[in-house]
Symmetry: C2
Subunit: 533 residues, 2 copies
């Protein structure tokens, strides 16, 4: 990057900042409550951070951990850290302190930046490699850790752009730890090339432009916010920060900041569609929502679109930098009814223009399954946006890359039109009397019941069938459906063996990124028993 | 490309076809008169062409020349030829046969595909390296050359996708010969990486999506149609072919085919704005026009936008794969008057998100000029979309790349906001009594005169001042302005020494790509005299 070659330039998402600071110095880059930074100010804060980190001895090959919600310092980290050749470790703020310790220590982070609200997650006595702490005082000034406050720390760095220390496209950019439903979190390694291309890919699929305003409902610690941390900056759009995912704030900011785009897990869409004033919402500009993480139920898609939103359903994993496939719209679908549209939209779709490779295969033979919407196989991917591997874990990397493809662990069918539809996580599928039952399929039907807010379906042991279906349900506020209502509702719409035999009402356990932790429900049901799957 | 690596994939624009044929098999890919090909049909024709070429012994490292207007075979060439590892040579159909012979021979093309209308350009006796000819019979069935007809030729190839023979991103993809105002045309070499990234860059800047319809007003032989040959396919939009640039056809197709995008040199915009029925035109959908090639006069911008078009002004050269910079819109410009808007829009602007590097420098010291809108320097560029060099011409390559940048040969200023504005070609600038006069600046003023359709300003010898300004003018139909009208009009708007001393009315000589050939006007004026510039 320092020695110019006329016809070659290292692809790096850090350069998006340079360009937007040059082209749009006075345009609004970041909004956070009352705070507003232009691209010039945003760049200067980033340069200060980069120089301050350099002053602390951070450079090529080092790691810097950030433990923050979606506030400006998190965005700044996405440029300042890789700019000086270091790698960013964005830690999930919803983890327990033991998990945080494991990640910070495993990543070899030398410096940790933590928001004061989450300072208690940092157990300094367990972190022998960390040399410095910086505390962000965003909502309160309490500081329990040694070291400087973030704004103070920025003042120690010059606002001049440092020399970028990026030599090669495959230089390590970030390590993102999987939320890991079982076992230790794994450190997924991203490089500059992958993040650059994936950020551009997200921009293309989402239709972001310089006049867009992007609301940060998706955690930035989740695949670097699906690379939108870089994509929004690339086109010179505005980042609207959101410290906590609260429906009132979401709707207020959509209105106040003219929000045109957001990304969200289906749980956030559920929150939006069940907001008490949801029926009164009419968006001023079309709100483009990109969702992924779990297949959204068709009912939820139609509810949220009724407000003036347009939902694009995508699918991906941490290992592929976030979304990799999109349920690309077909002109022939215009003729479908609203309900039919929601059904086709709930599929995981086809690869992005920039991701290109996805297939559904027999995970042992690697042979593609029939394109019949019936034959189940594992979703596999490859390409520039596939991680380079798990940090310090060659064994897991080799396993994930068996047969020359990345194995997603998701079971799916491929429809005759080439669209992929997830049936289940490999570990979640129910095998009842020899029949495969997709828990997702059963959940989608139950979501259609008017009294249901949220549902998770898991297998429970059964002497006759091996396992049978059980549904855990969160009813809508004020609703008290009976188990047989739900069971009958399902039987009317699915093969009888797919209907739940048991229903339980109550809260659902969730991961830090809002995914329902079916394994917890399952473990409880299978205590002391051995499940073959 | 044949041995999959999980985390790395060669960037190649050929893959856009694979993806669109998979995702949008039944969507309209190409329209040409009554002919309509879906993406599945388009891909099959391309695979047939690729296999037919292979059967003729074409493969890795070979060159194939196409001499065709904007018809389907030209689009097909952009995929079939590079797919099998060969390089495409798209020859300008407006050249003389001697120039065509030089290009075909210099490029080492082994096979030539020519449209029957242009078969007379092919002098087979001068082309010893060519082994096979194929004639496209698009408008007539006359065949003067030996060899097969194009559709017959396609039938000799299998419709199955061949194995792609693309090993590396920097593999040669195309050679595009500059129109060369002086001297022999030079063969500009493009690679797969550059074309992939530039095509994506054009898509981003133009806002192409799957629902777009793109009209081929820009010749595909010109920088591979600014890489839109690949970009339109990338997003699964529709290519609307246009054999000849005729205003009636342009407006008819915009209406019939719901055209949303086109690219055009300013001469095409002039043609559109002076079309007899121009004042009645009201676009159904916004027509996004990307223009470049010469700075469009502000008057023309406002005329065409009045029809419902939105003009994006870009700037580039063959050596940078077409447009490299864009006059990116600033929110603060909303407040400007229509005329002021047209003026800011006529600047060449800032680098694309994906091109990134452009500067205005002293071409000797390579020092950037002051950002004051006054200091003139040369526009230089570098990055992934800069050619790898001139084919078989290391000397010209070294000269063009002096100092680690590509030298455009365009003289410009940089405004305080970082926007570049071309003042002139290095060779066109007028030096009168020691003062630099930008011919473009003078032309822009004269374009504001109500009787002027087209104008070109050149220096003519003058005993006192060394050189002075002369304007060659094409008046609007039915208008007969007097020379002094024009001279006074200019003096009221510019420094007196910049006003033309002489005016001549009549036609203007143009290059094959529609650029006015000022050097021809200049040569006539300077016959027998020596110009220092």
């Amino acid at each position: 990057m320092n020695e110019p070659n006329v016809s070659y330039d290292v692809l790096s998402p850090v350069k998006f900042l340079t360009r937007s600071a040059f082209v749009y110095p006075d345009k609004l880059a970041v909004v956070h409550g009352e705070k507003r930074y232009t691209y010039k100010e945003f760049a200067e804060r980033i340069y200060r951070l980069a120089n301050a980190l350099k002053n602390k001895g951070i450079g090529k090959g080092d790691k810097v951990a950030f433990i923050c919600p979606n506030i400006p310092p998190m965005l700044e980290a996405h440029y300042a850290v890789p700019m000086i050749g270091a790698a960013l470790v964005s830690v999930n703020i919803r983890l327990a302190s033991g998990e945080v310790s494991y990640i910070v220590d495993h990543s070899d982070a030398k410096l940790v930046v933590v928001d004061s609200e989450f300072a208690s997650l940092v157990q300094t006595n367990e972190l022998s490699k960390v040399e410095n702490y910086v505390t962000v005082c965003d909502v309160d000034d309490t500081r329990t850790l040694e070291g400087m406050e973030y704004e103070e720390f920025l003042q120690t760095g010059s606002p001049e752009a440092p020399d970028f220390d990026i030599d090669s496209e495959d230089q390590l950019l970030a390590i993102n730890y999987t939320s890991g439903t079982t076992g230790r979190p794994k450190g997924v390694m991203y490089h500059h090339r992958g993040a650059y291309l994936n950020a551009i890919g997200e921009v293309l699929e989402s239709g972001l432009t310089a006049s867009s305003s992007y609301l940060w409902t998706l955690p930035m610690f989740h695949c670097n916010g699906w690379c939108f941390t870089w994509g929004v900056t690339a086109v010179g759009a505005t980042h609207v920060c959101l410290r906590a995912v609260v429906a009132d704030d979401i709707f207020r900011l959509i209105d106040q900041e003219d929000v045109t785009h957001l990304c969200a897990a289906p749980t956030v869409l559920i929150m939006m569609s069940t907001w008490p004033k949801a029926s009164e919402v009419k968006m001023k500009r079309t709100l483009n929502i990109m969702t992924a993480g779990a297949p959204p139920a068709p009912t939820i898609i139609s509810n949220v679109e009724a407000m003036g939103a347009n939902i694009t359903h995508t699918y991906g994993l941490t290992e592929v930098y976030g979304p990799h496939s999109v349920c690309a719209w077909q002109p022939t679908w215009e003729k479908l009814s609203k309900e039919e549209k929601a059904i086709v939209k709930s599929r995981q779709g086809v690869p992005f223009v920039l991701t290109h490779y996805m297939d559904v295969v027999n995970p042992v033979t690697m042979e593609p399954v029939a394109r019949d919407g019936q034959a189940m196989g594992e979703i596999v991917m490859r390409g520039n946006n596939v991680m380079t591997g798990y940090y310090k874990d060659t064994e897991s990397t080799a396993e994930a890359f068996a047969g020359g493809w990345f194995h997603s662990g998701d079971l799916a069918v491929m429809h005759p039109d080439g669209y992929v539809q997830i049936m289940d996580r490999k570990k979640d599928i129910i095998i009842s009397g020899g029949e495969n039952i997709s828990t997702v399929e059963v959940e989608n039907v139950i979501y259609g019941h008017p009294d249901v807010q949220e549902v998770a379906v898991v297998p429970v042991p059964d002497d006759k069938w091996g396992e049978v279906v059980k549904a855990f349900i969160v009813p809508k506020a004020g609703k008290n459906p009976l188990p047989e209502d739900i069971i009958n509702f399902t039987k009317e719409r699915l093969a009888r063996f797919k209907a739940p035999k048991y229903i339980e009402f109550g809260e659902l356990p969730k991961t830090a990124t809002g995914k329902i932790q079916k394994f917890k429900l399952r473990e409880k049901e299978w205590e002391g028993k051995k499940r073959i799957n």
